[in-house]
């Protein structure tokens, strides 16, 4: 069992590492398009300076996203060979499609990075569109594979335990696909939007007041503002989806130990496993039933509906779920506050408390994404494919997974610290005034050529 734990730890760690770069890889092309488009229309060199900085950062984060994705591709076979043996025919298809979008993205990344001086400005701008499409579509199809694990359909198991009659499309678009894919897409845009805002908010906290920082912060908040209201709808839809298709997960994240009509929404507290009840929590009567099924008296299945060895452990997920929703509400309230200040001060606000909150929001957004995935994955336990295959039937029998775990953990720590060091170096490498001046000069010389 220790091996199972090590395999889960190493894979969870690899996924967590990858997912942050995946989110950046999906949303950063949007920021590139935005900043470069603004520059091309308004000829404000600040946007060009921002665009160049973001291109550099994107080159690095994309590379790490790509190689950590390769690790996962292999890792599925290395750590979960028996699961892949079983599930390969179903989840192999969306992952094959992902390869094509990866190719699209990789090719156009090369074009975008190295084509700035070779292509006409608008053509160069347009070469980031396939980047956005490739990244976004890759994310969706990978989530299709994950949603199959939560709601596996589109196949039959015969008496010999073999998978037969695979319906590829049904397996791809399993009942939970839309909720998961939309939730993650919105989350990625919100988290990365706040992360961009946070970079410039932290610069302003250190005393920078230039146009470069103001515009960077403004663009980050624009994207976050577009995403945050959608997140409320997406979160609501995801909860309904759980109630309909994954009742055990819903019961565990709440946690709800016994089936109840008019189930309350519980916040905080501590799940007492002995007594099978929540202690010290705040309960809002009937809210869970209202949110999940639109009816105050609707019954919600509790953990007692499931056999004891098929229950997810509420202690593994309830805190992650509460923290994720808490962060979501914190970020959602930050947005009107920011725009209120913006309106009041006629420009990007310089209130230190607000800037500090925005800096914090950059970390919280990514933290919420990780917490959300902990909810999805831990809430499905002990299944690796809900109701079909248990996780202890799927992991590798190879020994020494513990060593692999330590090795990979050191490797990720090493990579992350180098990356943070380098990104900080890039962010503060040249003073923004200089960058802007440089961009301005470049623009002038280009103008001279045009004349």
């Amino acid at each position: 069992l220790e091996n199972l734990f090590a395999a889960r730890a190493v894979f969870g760690m690899s996924l967590s590492f990858h997912i942050m770069f995946a989110a950046l890889g999906v949303v950063m092309p949007f920021f590139l398009l935005l900043s470069q488009g603004l520059y091309l229309r308004r000829k404000n060199p600040v946007y060009l300076a921002l665009n160049k900085k973001w291109t550099t950062a994107f080159a690095i984060t994309y590379a790490i996203g790509a190689v950590s994705g390769v690790v996962l591709t292999f890792g599925l076979g290395l750590f979960w060979p028996r699961f892949m043996d079983f599930a390969g025919p179903m989840i192999g298809v969306p992952l094959s499609i992902e390869v094509m979008f990866f190719l699209l993205e990789a090719i156009f990344l090369g074009i975008y990075l190295f084509g700035r001086d070779l292509l006409s400005p608008w053509l160069h701008w347009a070469s980031a569109i396939p980047l956005l499409i490739g990244g976004f579509a890759s994310m969706i199809v990978v989530i299709l594979a994950n949603s199959w694990m939560n709601t596996p359909v589109g196949f039959e198991v015969n008496e010999a335990g073999e998978v037969v009659n695979v319906d590829v499309f049904a397996a791809m678009f399993s009942p939970s696909w839309y909720a998961e894919a939309s939730h993650m897409s919105v989350a990625a845009f919100e988290a990365v939007g706040f992360a961009f805002a946070a970079v410039y908010a932290s610069g302003m906290l250190r005393g920078r007041r230039d146009q470069y920082h103001r515009n960077g912060l403004f663009l980050g908040m624009m994207v976050a503002t577009l995403a945050a209201p959608l997140m409320i709808f997406s979160g609501d839809h995801t909860a309904r989806q759980l109630a309909a298709n994954e009742p055990a997960k819903l019961a565990a994240i709440e946690p709800l130990f016994e089936t109840q009509e008019g189930a309350p929404l519980s916040i905080g507290g501590w799940p007492d496993m002995e007594a099978e009840e929540m202690r010290y929590d705040i309960e809002i009567p009937t809210l869970l039933s209202v949110l999940s099924l639109d009816e105050p008296n609707a019954p919600i299945q509790g953990l007692n509906e499931f056999p004891e060895d098929e229950r997810p452990d509420p202690r593994a997920v309830w805190w992650a779920y509460d923290a994720m929703t808490g962060i979501g509400f914190f970020l959602a309230t930050l947005i009107p506050v920011f725009w209120l200040f913006y309106w009041r001060y006629r420009g990007v606000p310089t209130n230190r408390l607000l800037l500090a909150a925005l800096t914090l929001s950059g970390f919280l957004g990514f933290l919420a994404i990780l917490l959300g995935w902990i909810v999805t994955e831990e809430g499905r336990q002990p299944w690796i494919a809900q109701g079909v295959m248990r996780i202890d039937e799927g992991f590798t029998l190879a020994p020494g997974i513990g060593i692999a775990f330590i090795g990979f953990a050191l490797l990720y720590v090493f990579l992350s610290s180098t990356l943070i060091w380098l990104l900080k170096r890039i962010a503060t490498g040249a003073p923004p005034e200089e960058e802007v001046e440089e961009a301005q000069e470049q623009e002038e010389s280009e103008g001279a050529y045009a004349l």
Binding site: I64, A66, G77, L78, I91, I107, G110, F114, L415
Partner: protein, 331 residues
């Protein structure tokens, strides 16, 4: 044609494309690691970054394609490989992760953090050697037919023995050698606007080719002793042997005089314009250096005897033409 054969063909093609495209990238890491001293070391490093910088992520695609075909079409096989060859695969993917990340770090560090540039390069370079070696040992273990799982899907021979034999190791070394060779050729073509730099990589190509030839010859007895299953598949195949010899002769004739190798060339020999071998492309009428560099085609596993067919033929040729760029690229 049955569908599984088509899938197997697609798998073979994607592995081959990874070996070629990704291999050239990995070899470039090796040359970056070795470019330490000499007046052009920095230039060499920069050429390597410019050449593979825009491409390497797309080249990495083929290993993902291979893995995806394996797990969706040949799931039980992938499960067996993943179990029995867990260690080399984990080391290889660790290498892929580190080398890619540090290549990207390095390209950006040159301007932003020059002090770290060299250190990042060391990691990029050393990991570029580790990855093809361990992927090669895994391929060797699979090809030699020694992977056996018992009824509980546990490898009969443990987790080390399948890939720590002479044959998997020689395949791993051949993997590294092939990468180095491919990369040197690729960089020679890419350096066409910088004459001394091109010469550097031409020489590296020759050295890698010779090393690959030696390894290829050494692999023959090892295959016979350590991978009898594979040897049986190779040895009696007369058509295959003929095909190999024909291919070797063809490549050798493209490559120009194969023997005597550069090491035996006498300084006193007059240089003959136009006789330079495979990597002299695009040089046009530029005079050769004082010593004629002879080339070695580096045919990998081609039988040693094939070379003899090439040798006298080319001795008789008075004025071999320089090789067109297209041919070279195809080669």
């Amino acid at each position: 044609m049955p569908f599984d054969v088509i899938l197997a063909g697609a798998l073979g093609a994607s592995i081959l494309l990874f070996a070629l495209a990704g291999g050239a990238d990995f070899g470039a890491g090796l040359w970056a690691l070795l470019a330490r001293r000499g007046e052009r070391a920095t230039e060499q490093q920069q050429l390597i970054e410019q050449s593979i910088g825009p491409l390497w992520e797309a080249n990495e695609l083929w290993v993902v394609v291979s893995a995806v075909i394996l797990w969706s079409a040949f799931a039980p096989a992938f499960a067996a490989y993943g179990t029995a060859l867990f260690i080399p695969f984990v080391l290889a993917i660790g290498g892929i992760l580190l080398r890619g990340a540090f290549l990207a770090f390095r390209i950006e560090a040159q301007e932003e953090a020059p002090a770290a540039y060299r250190f990042f390069g060391e990691i990029f370079g050393s990991m570029s050697i580790i990855t093809p070696f361990f992927l090669g040992t895994a391929a060797g273990a699979i090809a030699s037919g020694r992977l056996r799982l018992n009824e509980n899907e546990v490898p009969v021979d443990g987790y080390f023995q399948p890939w720590l034999g002479p044959f998997p190791i020689i395949v791993g070394l051949l993997g590294v050698g092939t990468c180095a060779y491919l990369s040197a050729i690729y960089l020679t073509i890419d350096a066409s606007d910088n004459e001394p730099l091109q010469e550097d990589f031409r020489i590296r190509g020759i050295i890698a080719g010779i090393a690959l030839g030696i390894l290829g010859v050494a692999a023959i007895p090892i295959t016979r002793a350590d991978a009898p299953h594979m040897w049986e598949g190779l040895a009696p195949g007369l058509p295959a042997s003929i095909l190999m010899i024909v291919a070797a002769v063809f490549l050798g004739s493209l490559a120009g005089p194969a023997l005597p190798p550069a090491l035996l060339a006498r300084p006193s020999r007059r240089h003959r314009p136009g006789r330079g071998g495979v990597l002299r492309v695009g040089r046009g009428t530029v005079p050769l250096p004082a010593r004629t560099r002879h080339n070695h085609p580096g045919r990998g596993l081609a039988p040693a005897g094939a070379r003899r067919h090439v040798h006298p033929h080319h001795r008789l040729r008075r004025r071999p033409r320089p090789i067109p760029l297209v041919t070279l690229q195809a080669f």
